[in-house]
Amino acid sequence: MEIVSSLPLVAVVIPVLGAILLLFVPEAKDKIRNMLALVISFATAMVVITVVQLVLKGNIVYNKIVDILPGLELSFRVDPLGALFAGTASILWVFAVLYSTGYMAHEHNRRRYFIFYLLSLGITMGIAFAANLFTLYLFYELLTLATYPLVVHEGNTEAQNAGKRYMIYSFFGAGLVLYSLFITYGLVGTLDFTQGGIMAEVARTAPLLLITVFVAYILGFGVKAAVMPLHSWLPSAMAAPTPVSALLHAVAVVKSGVYGILRVMYSIFGTETMVELNLGIFVAVLVSFTIVLSSIIAMRQDVLKRRLAYSTISQLGYITLGAGLLTPLGLTGGLLHIINHALLKITLFFCAGAIITVTGKKYISELNGVGRRMPITMLAFAIGSIGMVGILPVNGFISKWYLMGGSLDAGMPIFVIILITSALLNAMYFFPIVTAAFFKKGDFEPPKQLEAPLAMLVPIVLLALTSIVVGIKLDLTVPFVETVVDYLF
């Protein structure tokens, strides 16, 4: 049932208004700003959860803002896929804001930081709730702008260069999306996300054009989804403060790219057209290279955050791979990985940030024996690593299992080999960090009081535990994702 409700707009507006509100909080008043930021992100999450619950009951929440052209309007329409993305992002945002209050305590320009952090929340919700490709594109561009100040936060040359690179890559991608958007609109006359896609008729008349458009879409959104060879902005964007890397470069920004790809594949092209034009295999093969190659590069990284970034590139490939398999099981695996990877990677980044804050070390080779100094943090890191490899009972396993099922269903067991190889590579670049932290000799002393600020430790522990709980109790994620898959197929 389609409900007309302004809730999606509210979810977008709250953080934007909140960001404006933060403008009036002076730099020195940290307590007020932290409280405000937490309350705003929490309120947004509540609104989003309300919307998600409506959607889970089988409704579609629709909210029109303004007509631009015939068949082209700025509007929100929340279907299960949008609910999945919005729910994951907004809930994790609360944790990330909490963590930021701890991490940013000793940093400069906190006001600017929090303003843009909240602004990105609103824009991400806009992406998730977009009713058509045009709205999606608009917010997609805005996200680049809103996150740029966060990337260059440090203000040094490295950050400036990272910011430039980020901008150029993103705009290049968005340009490609825009190009495809025009052609799509010209061909079909609408850009609405529809069950089963809008391309079915055109696929018969102009298949070659459609393939070109599709490739442009994938490459365009692939920039933010860090599909190789368009990934290189992501590792360099690690110059940003860790909460930014954790939330934006593991969840919000990169997954908005993946979300774009999913939308193009399932709501614009539709499975039938994809199968007809044989486009799924193109995506699957493209990301398979990404999955394996970036894992190999990850092994060579000594900066912890860069290693995590390359791991993100590889893991985002899982999601896209699941989508590209064009089987319900594969898509289930891919979508589950949106949630699972978000939980795991944000935990890992938070741990990395805690290590940087407490010990000031950012190279993996300096972390021998850090488990003595930060046992809880490193335990959480271990849980995250186990999940990344896909070992039971941490949640990463589940998505891997469905992905394997999907590739076997699609009759392409080669992707099982890719997944297994990637799992082994993951083990080879994550486990040494953990084992060296606990079992190698280093000059770290046991902590005298708390090993890290409470505002950082609480999200770390909560998220690590959630990863296990989600891994054990499947009812929390799988039925939701299956609803999404049912809707898309």
Partner: protein, 672 residues
């Protein structure tokens, strides 16, 4: 006794008690070491009690099933306890209790005791869970819990040696887990079930997927079981752990690998419709049967190679614990032969399965006893090189007795437990030869005997060098200072030694109580079991004679080795186990570096190219010098970090948008 109590929850309890206990022990260990030791022992004991209380149900041939819905995997978490899984869980937990009691005093000298006891319990949870699991995915869950947590035991001492051995252990463990997972995925998405029950694998017919899935899973479990050539981690990882942990790694945990292989063979066997029915079922079955038979044949030979290689490796070791670890490889070979025969002979393979499961029990007992004894030596002297030790029987009479009992057990001397299982395995191998008359199996039987003799040889060497001969000068002083074993060590070893002797004198008792019910749960022809295994006379003259011949051969070889001084010769480095492991590792690393170097340089070049383009583009933009400096209007929002050129790009894009829109509508004639 259990009126009104749902028995089916017992398997879950058996897994949960140690898992929760691990947390409790971890917390207690911050406060009191006495209570920590107490809690660890009691929790292990409670687990043993829970497993024992399943006996009344299981011995009646019933099966305990339990399910938790939608937990852990897309399937459910299931438990299924039949007699066979009961035995494996029981023996694991019994040995665990002995080792825990032993470690109460052993660990006094070690660091991080809280971590050790806590992880020990977590590992117990996984190890007990493997046999109790009702489907392969649940099994894999416990298998992984065991693999990962036992890594902490392997690297417990945190020396460089332990760390590098632990690496090999961890990565091979992960690879094994992934191999099992891949096999399982093939299996599940073809058949829609992963239940560990006969014939599940054949459900929708026979195709290439079945053997691939089975082989992947056998490889995965084989890594844990130390199956040649996947054993390379074992002689490195087992000895570096603290002695009680080595006892459990070598005595119990590798059995989970054997259990896994047995389960895989089990799901491939088609229920015994009786040979007559099997005959007139279509050719499909015949085809499948010949495949199973072929795989069984391969497993027999892998077993033979494993046992022989293990013996050779064990003979050349100097370090007691390394020798024991190599001996474990060899003994796993014996078990594999039994499993292989079971697959090879299909319905008539009950003897092989009986021998294998009997040997699983026996090996757990004597190998753990031997490792614990080695632990006493390490605890007292800190020296494990056999050539530097001697004369310990005077100072450690109890340990000497335990070592002699366990060695007689492992050597298969009549009236000690190994005799019973080796006799069964020998019978099985002979049957395998007689059934199809493949002459190669006659050679296999010879290697089997030679390996048994070799086992005698290296245990004689161990006893003579360490306990009986006069102590060498360097250590004589410290040996003289030894005063007996601590009580808890004695208790731990005594528990195992008593069982060895008990089983040795009543081989039929255990056979009837546990082995025959367990073999009957498989699909073997009941008539065969009735006929050949029930009431088997272990002390038939021919069997005793053949075991004495083996003993004599071993003793002779030992005498020759001792006289000629062959034992004191050290083998050239290039033949050594270490050499292969390290060189292989180095080779892999350099290969790896080579590959990744190529990728990295290609990507680096691409990246460079991109950045040159960007740099040029930027310098052109900056050359235009539109930079207005700090803007007054924007000062309120501190935007000074956003470069002007970015805003310029935005402008260009916005302009492009307008132009393109115009073109778009112009071309397609929609109009504004």
């Amino acid at each position: 006794m259990f009126q009104g109590f749902d028995l089916s929850i017992l398997p879950l309890l058996a897994v949960l008690i140690p898992a929760v206990g691990a947390g409790i022990v971890a917390i207690i260990s911050f406060y009191s070491s006495w209570w920590r030791n107490f809690a660890a022992t009691v929790i292990t004991g409670a687990t043993l009690f829970v497993i024992l209380s399943m006996y009344p149900v299981v011995s009646g041939g019933q099966v305990i099933s339990f399910q938790l819905f939608n937990i852990v995997s897309p399937l459910n978490l299931t438990f299924r306890v039949d007699s066979f899984s009961f035995i494996v869980a029981l023996i694991a937990c019994f040995v665990w209790l002995a080792a825990t009691i032993f470690s109460l005093s052993y660990m006094e000298h070690e660091q991080n005791r809280g971590r050790f006891f806590s992880i020990l319990l977590l590992t117990l949870s996984g190890t007990v869970g493997v046999p109790l699991a009702g489907d392969f995915l649940s099994l894999l869950l416990f298998f992984e819990i065991m693999s990962i947590s036992s890594y902490v035991l392997v690297v417990h001492t945190q020396t460089d040696e332990a760390y590098s051995a632990g690496d090999l252990y961890l990565y091979l463990g992960v690879a094994g887990g992934m191999s099992i997972l891949a096999g399982m995925a093939l299996f599940y998405f073809r058949n829609g079930t992963l239940a560990i029950a006969p014939a599940t694998m054949t459900a929708p017919g026979i195709d290439i997927v079945v053997p691939i899935a089975a082989i992947l899973m056998i490889i995965g479990f084989g890594i844990k079981a130390g199956m040649a050539p996947l054993h390379i981690w074992l002689p490195r990882a087992h000895p570096v752990a603290p002695a009680p942990a080595s006892a459990l790694l070598s005595g119990v945990m590798i059995k989970t690998g054997a259990y896994g292989i047995i389960s895989v063979v089990n799901v491939m066997l088609i229920p015994s419709l009786g040979p007559s029915v099997a005959q007139h079922v279509s050719g499909l079955y015949t085809e499948f049967w010949s495949m199973v038979s072929g795989m069984g044949y391969v497993i027999i030979w892998i077993g033979i190679v494993t046992m022989f290689m293990g013996v050779i490796l064990a003979i050349i070791q100097e370090n007691i614990k390394k020798m024991l670890a190599c001996s474990s490889i060899s003994q796993m070979g014996f078990i594999l032969v039994g499993v292989g025969v079971a697959g090879y002979l299909k319905y008539e393979g009950a003897m092989g399965m009986a021998g294998a499961s009997y040997h699983i029990i026996n090996h757990a007992l004597f190998k753990s006893a031997l490792f614990l004894a080695a632990g006493v030596i390490a605890y007292k002297l800190g020296e494990l090189n056999m050539y530097k030790l001697g004369g310990l029987w005077k100072k450690l009479p109890f340990t000497t007795l335990v070592v002699i009992i366990a060695s007689l057990g492992i050597a298969g001397f009549p009236f000690f437990n190994g005799y019973a299982s080796k006799t069964l395995l020998h019978h099985a191998l002979v049957e395998a030869y007689e059934h199809y008359g493949v002459t190669a199996l006659l050679e296999a039987e010879r290697i089997f005997m030679i390996s048994a003799a070799g086992t005698v040889l290296y245990y004689l060497k161990f006893i003579y060098l360490v306990f009986l001969r006069r102590p060498p000068e360097e250590l004589a002083d410290s040996i003289n200072k030894i005063k007996g074993e601590p009580r808890s060590m004695k208790l731990g070893m005594a528990m195992l030694a008593v069982m060895i002797v008990f089983i040795g004198f009543n081989p039929g008792y255990l056979l009837n109580m546990l082995i025959i019910p367990s073999v009957s749960t498989f699909v073997f022809c009941p008539g065969f079991i009735e006929h050949h295994i029930v009431g088997i006379n272990f002390f038939a003259a021919s069997d005793i004679i053949s075991s004495l011949v083996v003993l004599g051969l071993g003793a002779l070889a030992f005498a020759i080795g001792l006289k000629s001084g062959l034992f004191s010769m050290s083998i050239p480095a290039w033949m050594g186990q270490e050499f292969f492991a390290t060189q292989f590792g180095k080779m892999m690393v350099s290969l790896w570096n080579g590959i990744s170097n190529v990728f990295v340089s290609i990507l680096g070049a691409v990246g460079k190219g991109f950045s040159v383009v960007f740099q040029t583009g930027f310098s052109i933009l900056q050359g235009l010098d539109y930079r207005p400096g700090k803007s007054d209007t924007l000062r309120f929002i501190n935007l000074s970090n956003i470069d002007f050129d970015v805003i310029l790009i935005m402008g260009i894009l916005a302009g492009a948008l307008v132009v393109l829109f115009y073109l778009q509508f112009g071309i397609f004639g929609i109009g504004i």
